[in-house]
Amino acid sequence: MRKINMRQAIIEALSEEMERDPKTVLFGEDVGKFGGVFGATKGLHDKFGERVFDTPIAETTIVGAAVGMALTGLRPIPELQFGDFVGIAFDEVYNKLGKWRWMHGGTMDMPVTLRLPIGIAGGSGPEHSQSPQALFMHGPGLHIVVPSTPYDAKGLLKTAIRNNDAVLFFEHKVLYDMKGEVPEEEYLIPLGKADVKREGSDVTILATALQVHTALKAAKTLAENGVEAEVVDLRSLAPLDKETILTSVRKTGRVVIVHEEPKTGGSGAEIAAQISEEAMFDLQAPIKRIGSPDVPIAQSIYLEQFYRPSEEQIVTTVNELMEY
């Protein structure tokens, strides 16, 4: 099968869905003729003209306008240049995108797919490197998608665009260049379904985005020492695929949750709580979380590596759990 990177997979998904549905519009800062600061919308302006347009630097307006467009028959795909900027549009995301439909009686649709690049990627500093997705697990009405491979990114993004509800689509910047197998023919991946990326019997590693790959590397190292780790790529944080998570946990009895979000209040906190509520007596060891330290992300390329969960951390943590 052909191999393409996640950037190309995203462009293909956007292009195919825009071709399929003339009601789709794509907009954001520099997404038009420039093709996006990460190149994830390259060529789309040439292909779709005014349906792909550059906006003023105004995140509040970008998301707010998307809400208005969605209520009146369009299928908007706004982009926030950096996921960190979602703070500027917090009211629009948290109170409008997720709640407008419900609070007005459920009579309107909200087919918005908001794309947000996340993650540490080469000295971008504390306001351009974050992974804020857990903030929105707390807000009803939002789907949260976090793909880890080109295959998943394409299939999930296409589903997200066709969905009549609001979807926050988080893309890790490091993954844009990562290649993977993507079929030529069309396929869709349902939202809210986790994917077991590696089967194992001793420990479950739950991960998202770049950390799925770190977990897979760690699993390989662990296997060399006779420990079989199951790596579950959550893919969606909302809805959370509890069934897949609990099935794996019940099988292995040990859990490590890995993410690049600060550990305190990160998505792992919620997932750990849900596991302990439902599968406490299937566990042979405490649930462990590996997250970023609870401090802002340093600009220094040297220092920023210490915020990203490493293969070594995962291996060490799993080995600790195996002692129980």
Binding site: G68, R101, M103, T107, N163
Partner: protein
């Protein structure tokens, strides 16, 4: 500097039917409000209510005879006025306040905010005041790109004008020449703060729109026909693709910000002047009488008919059941 909109409006250029409709709408708004306050006093309606008494002329004049069902509005914090003018059934609005399934939200308990009637272009309102500015450029963009001639009216008060989204919204509307009309219902006070205390530009809020290259006017918001004229021009401009208009309509609220507000921050003589000399309903009635459009008897007939309509609407709303507790789980997703 904003232009003060002046025009000698010839009452005879309006049909008697249209003029009666303006009056009927204004009376409906006022009586709706008075009955709602009564229901609150009877303990049947909880929460905050922001009375629209005093600005009926602005709501009726900017909607009746100029907007169609398919035109969009985002109403403001005194928005029952605008919802009534846009034709949302009264029983549905009372149902929202009473929390019964008759309400537009089928029992979720919407009040001034969160009622919606998509079939009449009433797309809702946000509790975080002023966040409709950006949604309005979205709906206007939608009309433009879909090639319809639908116009979006975005209502807000002088207080909401302070919100940052207004400026993002004005910039977009100007950049993309969107068919959106901003109607600032300037009733001078944002709860207790006079707009000159909180706005850097003291004279006219409409001046801000001038800074974005957007046509802007200041109009006497209590002159129903004058409001109608300026909005008609704005709608024409929008439909011709000439972009947005900003209208600052000057008015005043007869009651406090919410029911229970002692309203002691407004000098008594100022309030008295607005109530006695600048009441939009009283003045419009006078205008129609003087022009021989309507007799005392005809006014009385309209008043009685509206009163009956309101009492019936309240009965329908009150008789409807409260929602099943499961209601809160419905409508979050499509």
């Amino acid at each position: 500097m904003a232009q003060i909109y002046k025009k000698d409006v010839d009452v005879s250029s309006y049909t008697k039917e249209t003029l009666h409709d303006f009056y009927r709408t204004m009376i409906k708004i006022r009586k709706f409000d008075q009955h709602l306050i009564r229901l609150m006093q009877e303990g049947k309606v909880s929460g905050f209510y922001h009375s629209g008494i005093g600005s009926e002329g602005l709501s009726a004049g900017s909607i009746r005879n100029v907007l169609r069902d398919e035109d969009y509005i985002f109403y403001n914090h005194r928005g029952c006025n605008q919802k009534i003018a846009k034709g949302v059934p009264l029983s549905k609005l009372y149902g929202d306040f009473l929390g019964t399934t008759e309400g537009t939200t089928r029992g979720l308990g919407a009040g001034i905010v969160h009622s919606a009637d998509v079939s009449r272009g009433v797309l809702g309102q946000a509790g975080t005041i002023g966040s409709q500015f950006n949604l309005a450029v979205g709906t206007a963009y939608s009309a433009k790109i879909q090639g319809t001639d639908r116009v979006t009216l975005c209502y807000f008060g002088d207080g909401a004008a302070s919100r940052e989204p207004l400026h993002g919204s004005l910039n977009w509307a100007g950049v993309y020449k969107l068919p959106v009309i901003y109607i600032c219902e300037n009733n001078e006070y944002a709860i207790s703060c006079h707009h000159t205390e909180t706005h850097s530009v003291k004279e006219h809020i409409a001046d801000w729109a001038g800074g974005y290259g957007i046509a802007n006017y200041v109009v006497d918001g209590n002159d129903t026909l004058l409001v109608n004229e300026v909005v008609k021009e704005a709608v024409e401009r929008a439909k011709k693709g000439e972009g947005p208009t900003f209208i600052e309509a000057q008015t005043f609220r007869h009651r406090g910000h919410y029911e229970g507000d002692p309203y002691d921050y407004v000098p008594a003589e100022v309030l008295q002047d607005w109530k006695e000399n600048r009441d939009p309903v009283k003045n419009f009635k006078k205008q129609l009488m003087e022009n021989g459009i309507c007799s005392e008897g005809e006014f009385a007939d309209i008043d009685h008919a509206v009163e009956a309509e309101i009492l019936e609407a309240i009965e329908v709303a009150e008789k409807a059941p409260l929602p099943d507790p499961k209601r809160i789980y419905e409508g979050l997703f499509s």
